[in-house]
Amino acid sequence: MITGKELFISRISHGLGRAAPPDTPTRLVYPHQMQRRYQAHAAKRELRDIFIANARAVGIDVRECSERDLAVALVEIVRKTGGPVVLADDPLLTGDVARCLVEAFTECHIWDAGAGREENMALAEKAKVGVARAEMALAESATTLLSCHGGNGRSITLLPENSVIVIRAETILPRLTQAMDWLHQQKTLPASVNFVSGPSSTADIELVRVQGVHGPLELVYIIVE
């Protein structure tokens, strides 16, 4: 629903010296395209190295493994942090990974989009670790892109103290530019897309960086082949 548009927009049009909005906007000419040059010709392996270095520089724990070993890698992480664990409902996570985690730790829940808000959020709030898969990752800023909808609830990577984001190696792209291209190409957007580029942090007290304000205290990226 839209309310109060006519008068509001007409005031703007008048301010711009016309009676009504034009049918099409003027052409936007980019004076430069520097954003497209960043690592434009980098090989996948290079992008992955840049991504890893940049992630480690901002305090993200980065691990690499094959898809087969993902379960082992996660068990190792959860052994340190303790459970419970909440997993996104994603084919990469719900098979072997879920089975192994359940074997190793009693409490491991898969986000259930069919269940209600309260139930899911309560489990996420209790969980020590939340695990989700990223749509893609960006080398320049060590960013992961999370499409938060359906089985990948927003709370999974927000409420637990530890956040684990699984990245498929081939989805590592140069920078934000490529992520925006991808979003632009989507027919429908999920209601929530989150870019994560580091653990929750603040510098509000004397500009001293403190990790872990409202979101996760620790962030782990696992890159799978």
């Binding site: 839209i2 109060g4 008068l7 509001f8 927009i9 703007i12 049009s13 008048h14 301010g15 711009l16 909005p21 034009p22 906007p25 003027t26 936007l28 980019y30 004076p31 430069h32 520097m34 954003q35 940049n54 986000w111 989009a113 269940a115 808000r117 139930e119 899911n120 959020m121 709030e125 800023s141 960013t143 938060c148 909808h149 359906g150 927003r154 709370s155 927000l158 920078r175 934000l176 925006m180 291209d181 979003l183 632009h184 209601a191 929530s192 989150n194 870019f195 994560v196 580029s197 580091g198 603040t202 510098a203 509000d204 007290i205 004397e206 500009l207 872990g212 304000v213 409202h214 979101g215």
Partner: protein, 467 residues
């Protein structure tokens, strides 16, 4: 709050701030640190001139097509299921927000930092109506519980406080018993606000930029409170200034790339949330209702004026960090919600010369702000132009008008100038009052020699040197 943040007159405000060594040290350190980080971040990015030219061109393009893009944004956001409300002024915006909260019988709202909600005085109105509003940005939270202290910077709002003050406030207001280590203070607040997040009925946010092509609103935060506010509560209210749009995601790329670097010297903030409509049918969390309130509140006047391009501003705060006057008085010295060079350029036209023309005095015209603005707002030129209009409208008082008129008459005439400069050496006899007292309070006046340069030049053939 509204645009005015202090009832004190200008000189009182400056006196008060200049006498606050804790604040002055904190701001100076913050400027030095954040400016160095910004410079390093842009050096790594490379091509700063190209980035800012492009970012500026994008913002300018949006302004010149704002009626088109706002219409498109509203249509697309509504198609995604959001309620879009156009609010002409602060009263309309806050009334709408209050009505939603009442309709939903909400008792508690959590809020992530937003300048426009401060501008329209949302918190006060909601609190007067008996609702609890919790600011969730750490700095804003501490200001809120410190008897509604005012932000001193638009990105790092409690920049003027040190850790000891944070500890005192938490101890007095929330029973904190720990030390003043930032990590411990932060953990304590985390626990407190976590409860609020989960209890709140409504989440209130601003909007860093909205994307016209998809009806998406965005929030950038480091703390993660932006994500929380858009995840836990069942209702979300988004307040956005009407100019905060980009046409497509491609432009969002450019703007976000310069925003985080300019604001805090980071490549991107820890979180950037893109919200398109309320939660989908398959989503368990996220708001069931999304209301987007688009606020004019004087912006259309700015758009129609010669100061249109100040609406390019992306609220990164870097002009404040660069400003040598801001350094000594913080945002509080300006007495306006938007301080620093941005405040000087924006507020007089947004809210009127009558109340806010005077802040344009807080500038030595050094030009540093214009050089760092990532969207090339001509801040220096705008401040200069505001001053012209203010003088022309005779808003500076009879005394100044007279003195300036006199000065103009003297330098506009060679003979008068000749006479006046011959008398200048007797200036030592003048009473230390008015402008002269402003100078001599902390500085010596130079002695004025008997012989002017022109006398020396004329007599040179005969005598040679200056006496």
């Amino acid at each position: 709050m509204s645009i005015k943040t202090s009832p004190l007159p200008l000189k009182e405000r400056l006196r008060k701030e200049l006498a606050n060594p804790v604040m002055r040290t904190a701001i100076a350190n913050a400027q030095d640190l954040l400016n160095a980080k910004r410079d390093a971040a842009f050096a790594e990015l490379g091509d700063f001139a190209k980035w800012r030219e492009t970012a500026g061109a994008i913002r300018s393009h949006v302004l010149e097509n704002l009626d088109f893009y706002l219409s498109r944004f509203a249509e697309r956001a509504a198609a995604a299921g959001a309620h879009v409300y156009f609010a002409g002024d602060a009263a309309a915006a806050t009334a709408y927000g209050l009505q939603i909260l009442r309709d939903k019988k909400a008792a508690k709202a959590v809020k992530s930092k937003s300048m426009v909600t401060e501008e329209i005085g949302l918190n006060r109105l909601l609190e007067e109506a008996g609702l609890e509003v919790v600011e969730t940005d750490l700095g804003e939270y501490l200001l809120q519980i410190d008897d509604l202290d005012k932000p001193s910077h638009i990105v790092v709002p409690a920049l003027h406080k040190d850790r000891e003050r944070f500890r005192e406030v938490l101890a007095a207001k929330k029973g904190y018993t720990g030390d003043s280590v930032p990590e411990n203070l932060t953990r304590f607040v985390r626990q407190l606000i976590r409860k609020d997040f989960l209890e709140a009925d409504v989440g209130i946010t601003g909007c860093n930029f909205a994307v016209a092509e998809t009806g998406t609103v965005t929030l950038v935060t480091n703390e993660g409170n932006g994500r929380f506010v858009t995840t836990a509560p069942k209702i979300q209210l988004v307040f956005m200034g009407m100019e905060r749009l980009v046409p497509t995601f491609a432009e969002l790329d450019i703007i976000f790339s310069v925003l985080a670097r300019s604001a805090v010297g980071a490549k991107l903030t820890s979180y950037m949330s893109l919200i398109t409509g309320p939660r989908g049918p398959q989503d368990a969390d996220g708001p069931e209702e999304l209301h987007i309130i688009i606020v004019d509140n004087g912006r259309s006047r700015v758009l129609a004026s010669e100061f249109r391009e100040v609406l390019r501003c992306i609220r990164c705060g870097t002009c404040m960090l660069e400003c040598p006057a801001y350094r000594h008085i913080s945002g509080h010295g300006y007495g306006t919600l938007y301080p620093g060079p941005l405040g000087l350029a924006l507020v007089p036209v947004l809210a009127g010369y009558e109340d806010y023309g005077e802040i344009t005095k807080i500038c030595s015209l050094c030009g540093a702000c214009s050089q760092v603005c990532p969207v090339e707002v001509p801040l220096y030129e705008f401040i200069f132009e505001h001053r012209r209009i203010i003088a022309e409208e005779q808003r500076l008082g009879a005394g100044e008008n007279f003195l300036m008129g006199l000065y103009g008459a003297v330098i506009g005439n060679s003979k008068l100038y000749g006479m006046a400069t011959r008398l200048a050496r007797f200036s030592a006899l003048a009473p230390r009052a008015g402008p002269l007292a402003q100078w001599t309070a902390a500085r010596e006046l130079p002695a004025i020699p008997k012989t002017r340069f022109r006398d020396w030049f004329a007599a040179r053939g005969k005598k040679g040197n200056l006496p």
